[in-house]
Amino acid sequence: MKYIATIEDKEYEIEILSETRVLIDDVPHEIDFKHLRQYLSFSLLVDGKSYETNIYQDNSDWEVLLRGRQFTVNVEDERERRLRLAAGHISVHKGKFVLRAPMPGLVIDIPVAEGDQISKGDVLVILESMKMQNELTAPRDGTVTRIQAKVNDNVERKESLLVLE
């Protein structure tokens, strides 16, 4: 079975040949993958190198905790990718971006207006939570097409605040 794993912008093509052999970008590796699923604890040996990881699914992505770092990995198999490409979603970075509240909190400020052209890194919303004021910034350039929250709103986690296109 062949899969495509994406971390940020980098893609890895991984083919599972057997329980102990894989190809990563066409390079063969000996592997041994063992887990205590209930405890989210995974041990992976790759050509003798040992990696302890914790893996769990968050929405459609996989969260992989490895040596203190957390990687968000998108995994598709060949068939899924073909279907998605055929449907025209060529890039995950185009199209609508919905800014959702990463935690419950109080909206302190929304320093943008509908129609504003904004750049990656611009502050879109200031949200107070856990005794701190937090700046939610734009993940990419775009236009604010819709603002769904207003100052002084108490918002729930994952509530959509505004839309960027």
């Binding site: 079975m1 899969y3 794993a5 971390i7 980098k10 890895y12 991984i14 599972i16 329980e19 894989v22 990563i24 590796h29 592997i31 993958f33 063992k34 887990h35 699923r37 405890y39 989210l40 604890s41 995974f42 992976l44 790759v46 990696y51 990881t53 914790n54 893996i55 769990y56 699914q57 996989w62 992989v64 905790l65 490895l66 040596r67 203190g68 770092r69 957390q70 990687f71 990995v73 995994v75 198999d77 990463p102 935690m103 419950p104 909190g105 949200l127 107070e128 939570s129 856990m130 005794k131 701190m132 004021q133 937090n134 700046e135 939610l136 910034t137 986690r157």
Partner: protein
């Protein structure tokens, strides 16, 4: 000694205080808000009582209710921890009026140091150097502050009079930005402390934040436990502390001199119990009084590690009227200690707080490692309190060895389900300037590189990709089994059986 101690706090510090009480064989009382019924401090306390709704103003800040509970259950002392009621002179007074010992300084000492402006004036009078600012001028209006600012010079800091922990603080680089920053600072000060008074202070460029821990008993003895370096801050929030300070290093003369000045500052307000004098130290080793924290500090464990003194036990003994167990000459520093504050926040996305459930919390262990935490597997992080989920403290002989041990501990530590700032600490501990001891309080805001790519093993993303694919693949196989079970696809069952055998 006390019959029973009520801990008017929550989280890691409540747990930490309960631990010392238990070792002193003193029963403890925990109090909890709606959000905290299942928290460790409630499960570890000998008694537990409900305080109120989750918002701090309706629970942990309700001094009246807390005193009521203490009286009802027969607690004869209250430990306030840090934050919440710890630096409220009126609460210390109310305890005294109710015949309950407040484990901390007298109301008058808290008041004298609590108003940051007044404190600067008091210690300056006692001969302690202070950073130039608007001290001794009382509470000023925005107009007055705008007028005085050019006298002090830029850059300068706006600080809440009732402040602490960096909340409400603002840096001003240019007078044109100042009006807006004054408004923002007052708003945050009002929200955090219920007091919107602010003052100005010159900003010392390239300064280090170095503080002295002191202990003072009821018999006139005051000693210091040397310094902690807390220059690693992000927006005035301390992130990593160490003892001793790499800046002071072997300069025993400076260490003792600052210690003596700290003792002098404590004496100026007739201080009793544990307290901390914060200094800014410039590159020429001039030091300036910044403020006094009239309570236990978050970072007290690094001092405990190098001195061997349990500061919380000392606090309790002092409050019970015991003389200090040690004289200044008995204090020796052994080795080096570093504390990393582990916050539930995402360093990759502007350090925004991360809420949700910690599905697994796996602590680092082995030699020289201490974890102070109030969280556990199954803990729900709520938006009501701060983002600190644990303090990781390591101790070894030299700074270099301590850093190596901390790196090992950070790698072992697993907090699954929420994001933490562990990668931030990992990046910091690889930074050449940090390793060389070359940093100031602006270091993190200015200098720390992005967190990606600091790992020596460049293969990590590839391995993460492989791990995710294997987990996903197995999930697919599992689903396939369920579907094909109906179709009695025996061959697939066999494959699955092998997979399960090797992976269970």
């Amino acid at each position: 000694m006390f019959k029973k101690i009520l801990i008017a706090n929550r989280g890691e510090i409540a747990v930490r205080i309960i631990r010392s009480c238990r070792e002193l064989n003193i029963p403890t009382v925990g109090v909890y808000s709606d959000a905290d019924r299942h928290n460790l401090h409630i499960r570890y306390a000998d008694e537990a009582y409900y305080l109120g709704p989750s918002k701090a103003s309706e629970s942990y800040l309700r001094g009246d209710k807390i005193i009521e509970i203490a009286q009802a259950c027969g607690a004869d002392a209250i430990h306030p921890g840090y934050g919440f009621l710890a630096e409220r002179a009126d609460f210390s007074q109310a305890c005294q009026d109710a015949g309950i010992t407040f484990i901390g300084p007298k109301p008058s000492s808290i008041a004298a140091m609590g108003d940051k402006q007044a404190a600067r004036y008091t210690v300056a009078e006692a001969g302690v150097p202070v950073v130039p600012g608007t001290e001794g001028r009382g509470d000023l209006s925005d107009e007055d502050l705008l007028r005085l600012a050019p006298e002090i010079g830029f850059p300068l800091l706006i600080k809440p009079s009732a402040g602490g922990g960096g909340k409400g603080m603002r840096e001003v680089q240019d007078i044109r930005d100042m009006a807006g920053l004054l408004t923002a600072s007052r708003r945050e000060a009002e929200a955090s402390f219920g007091d919107d008074n602010i003052y100005l202070e010159k900003m010392i460029q390239g300064a280090r934040h170095i503080e002295i821990q002191i202990l003072a008993d009821q018999h006139g003895n005051v000693i210091h436990l040397a310094e902690r370096e807390c220059s690693i801050q992000r927006r005035h929030q301390k992130l990593l502390e160490e003892a001793p300070s790499p800046f002071i290093g072997d300069d025993e003369k400076l260490r003792q001199e600052m210690g003596q000045v700290a003792v002098q500052a404590a004496r100026a307000v007739d201080y009793i119990n544990a307290g901390t004098i914060e200094f800014l130290v410039d590159k020429d080793k001039n030091y300036y009084f910044l403020e006094m924290n009239t309570r236990l500090q978050v970072e007290h464990p690094v001092t405990e590690a190098v001195t061997g003194i349990d500061i919380v036990k000392e606090q309790i003994r002092i409050a019970a009227g015991h003389p200090l167990s040690r004289k200044q000459g008995d204090i020796n520093l052994n080795g080096w200690a570093i504390e990393c504050r582990i916050n539930a926040e995402d360093p990759y996305r502007g350090f925004i707080p991360s809420t949700g459930m910690i599905t697994q919390s796996l602590l680092p262990a082995g030699p020289g490692i201490r974890v102070d935490s109030g969280v556990y597997s199954g803990y729900q992080i709520t938006p009501y309190y701060d983002a600190l989920i644990a303090k990781l403290i390591v101790h070894e002989e030299t700074r270099e060895e301590t850093i190596a041990r901390m790196k090992r501990a950070l790698e072992e530590y697993r907090v699954i389900g929420v994001r933490t700032n562990i990668p931030f600490h990992q990046a910091l501990l690889e930074d050449p300037d940090f390793l060389a001891g070359n940093f100031d309080t602006q270091f993190v805001d200015d200098e720390v590189p992005p967190f990606t790519g600091h790992q020596k093993d460049k293969n990590l993303p590839k391995i993460a990709a492989l791990a995710a694919v294997l987990a996903a693949h197995e999930n697919t196989q599992r689903s396939a089994i369920v579907i094909r079970r109906a179709q009695r696809d025996i061959s697939n069952w066999k494959w699955m059986g092998r997979w399960e055998r090797t992976n269970k």
